[in-house]
């Protein structure tokens, strides 16, 4: 089991946005691989690639507000031999340039890494247009593409380096707001290997992204009601770690999925596909309930759209009652 931040549940827990981890990961990677190049479409600062741009100006490519071209240029650079990181908001990339991602990158097996920032309702005040809630759905259907959703800035940093070292196209999802540091520097991260964050026996929460913090707090609170919750960080949505998911389902026989994404076709759906085909158990899904977001503070929006601690606890109670009524 992974060693987690001992401050989980405390109000003074350190907080950083996952996009910051991306910026640091790029610097780690650039130091060991001279082929790493970074592209952005007029969003260098908010995707946190400015430090890279300053340190390696000759490896930084400003594409202007033109995401379709940016994805294609990245594909061309990759086919030539570079390791390009495409940096923008997920609503635009891979949202607006999905066709280019599909053909120029995935079909061609171009070694392009796509960092989709500003995902989820925690984007906050910018409102629905900028809150990517469909990016996992549209990426995980693409053959050849690895899809990763880091849960905190440390994991985002590790994921950036790991995906950069790995051959083949990859999409990874980042957030705008500061979110709790769940893991530690010594926590392991392997693409394609889900991490058991907490053991338990009555229900398993399988989730991805910073909202896993709410899952961990909900799990701790449920212990007081004598409900033993396992928590799994399913950071790699594709290829999914079926083995860990099936094993956990066999042990707990009830599953709650948690993500800051439409419940349709995201992490929860990926988990359900594994379970339905291998070991069907009752599942409750926590995520964006088939809706667009709106402006507001991240915590207000998380509550309104049912991804807070209360909603996760309600889902746990419901799935356990379904399990027991069988």
């Amino acid at each position: 089991m992974t060693y987690l931040n001992p401050k989980i549940g405390n109000s003074d827990i350190e907080q950083e946005p996952t996009r910051k981890g991306y910026g640091l990961g790029l610097l780690d990677l650039a130091a060991i691989d001279e082929n790493v190049v970074v592209l952005t479409a007029d969003l260098a600062e908010s995707t946190m690639v400015l430090d890279f741009a300053k340190k390696y100006p000759e490896r930084f490519v400003e594409c202007g507000v033109a995401e379709q071209n940016m994805m294609g240029v990245a594909a061309g650079l990759a086919l030539y031999g570079k390791v390009p990181f495409v940096s923008s908001y997920a609503t635009f990339s891979p949202g607006r340039n999905w066709d280019q991602l599909r053909v120029s990158v995935c079909y061609s097996m171009a070694n392009v890494k796509i960092a989709g920032a500003h995902t989820g309702v925690t984007v906050g005040p910018d409102g629905a247009t900028h809150q990517a809630l469909e990016d996992v759905a549209i990426t995980r259907v693409l053959p050849n593409l690895t899809v990763v959703v880091p849960c905190d800035a440390l994991e985002a940093r590790k994921a950036t380096v790991a995906l950069g070292k790995m051959a083949g196209p990859a999409y990874f999802r980042l957030g705008r707001s500061k979110t709790p540091i769940i893991t530690t520097n010594s926590s392991s991260f392997t693409v394609g290997k889900a991490e058991v964050f907490k053991d338990g026996s009555d229900v398993v929460i399988i989730g991805s992204g910073p909202v896993l913090y709410n899952a961990l707090v909900a799990a701790a609170e449920m212990e007081k009601e004598n409900v033993s919750c396992m928590v799994i960080n399913n950071h790699t949505i594709k290829p999914i770690d079926s083995e860990t998911i099936i094993e956990a389902a066999k042990k707990c026989k009830a599953v709650v999925t948690v993500e800051e994404h439409q419940t349709m076709a995201g992490c929860g759906s990926a988990v359900c596909e594994v379970l339905a085909q291998n070991f069907p158990v009752p599942v409750e899904m926590v995520g964006m309930p088939n809706s667009f977001g709106e402006s507001g503070q991240p915590e207000e929006l998380i509550e309104k759209y049912c991804m807070g601690i209360k909603s996760i606890k309600a889902a746990i109670r419901k799935v356990i009652s379904r399990k027991n009524s069988k």
Binding site: V37, E58, R59, V61, C63, G64, A66, Q68, N69, M70, M71, G72, V73, A74, A75, G76, L77, A78, L79, Y80, G81, K82, P84, D99, Q100, V103, S104, Y107, S108, M109
Partner: protein, 283 residues
């Protein structure tokens, strides 16, 4: 591989015959565009490009990116004529198990640089390759980007053109197949493109216009593009869709259809006659 102008004329004729036979075998595919571009492809593969069919991944090669993937029969025929694979394989076009897919795929056949089909994607990829060469100060290699004229209606083309203009990618030569037709009709009816020259100039490109069936003019334009610094070059090649086959020439109905057996017979006879005329021109 540098052939003489007369040898290139033969190659263009061979490529046209290959195209007609391939399309007949396949029973589907595009006729007009590939035939119209045969002269340009013959010039590229047998004079202009620095390439080695036996070493398709050679790092020092020039790269040809076919953005309008639907005219791939002319690419496949040119690659086969150049020796990338056996000409026999051309018969497998579009058939189950083939390496010659309906639209080109970089991973299936040697000599194919990118996967294309959705228009304009090649423009950005070619620009990306040219930018990579520029980053690495590789001055002797070039990227050749082939686009159709209807393709210019895609917004992504202009994003790529703007990018290449900004970075002054003079190692990039684009060639536009200006044949004035697209699936739904004449380009100027469907969505007018003129004045293409002025548009490219406004994006900081060097613009040349050539007769896309004049081999010497095509080669000269490619040489001029190499000599231009500070700007990418676009060659607007005025071509006749279906060139070489009288009943196809200039008719947009042949954009997306193949010849049937009878039509192919007529077409091949005509092309063989034209080949004979090349002979007599020499003597």
């Amino acid at each position: 591989m540098k052939l003489s102008i007369n040898e290139i004329k033969y190659k263009a004729n061979d490529i046209r015959q290959d195209i007609v036979q391939m399309l007949l075998e396949a029973g589907s595919g595009h006729s007009a565009g590939p035939l119209g571009m045969a002269d340009i492809f013959a010039c590229l593969y047998f004079s202009v490009l620095n390439h080695d069919p036996k070493r398709p991944k050679l790092e020092e090669r020039d790269r040809l990116v076919l953005s309008c993937g639907h005219i791939c029969p002319v690419l496949y025929a040119s690659l086969a004529e150049a020796g990338y694979f056996m000409k026999d394989e051309l018969k497998t076009l579009r058939k189950f198990g083939t390496r010659l897919h309906g639209h080109p795929h970089n991973l299936s056949l040697p000599g194919i640089e990118t996967s294309s089909g959705p228009l304009a994607q090649g423009a950005s990829q070619a620009v990306g390759m040219a930018y990579g060469l520029y980053m690495d100060r590789k001055k002797s290699q070039r990227v050749y980007l082939i686009m159709s004229d209807g393709e210019q209606q895609e917004g992504q083309v202009w994003e790529a053109i703007m990018f290449a203009g900004k970075y002054k990618l003079h190692n990039l030569t684009a060639i536009i197949d200006r044949n004035n037709i697209q699936i739904d009709g004449y380009t100027e009816d469907v969505m007018p493109l003129d004045n293409l020259k002025a548009k490219y100039e406004a994006f900081n490109w060097h613009v040349l216009e050539v007769d896309g069936h004049n081999h010497q003019a095509i080669i000269n334009a490619c040489m001029e593009a190499k000599a231009i610094y500070e700007k990418p070059t676009v060659i607007i090649a005025h071509t006749i869709p279906g060139k070489g086959v009288d009943f196809m020439e200039g008719d947009f109905k042949w954009h997306g259809s193949p010849p049937n057996k009878e039509q192919a017979k007529v077409a091949l006879e005509e092309l063989r006659t034209l080949r004979g005329q090349i002979d007599s021109e020499h003597k």
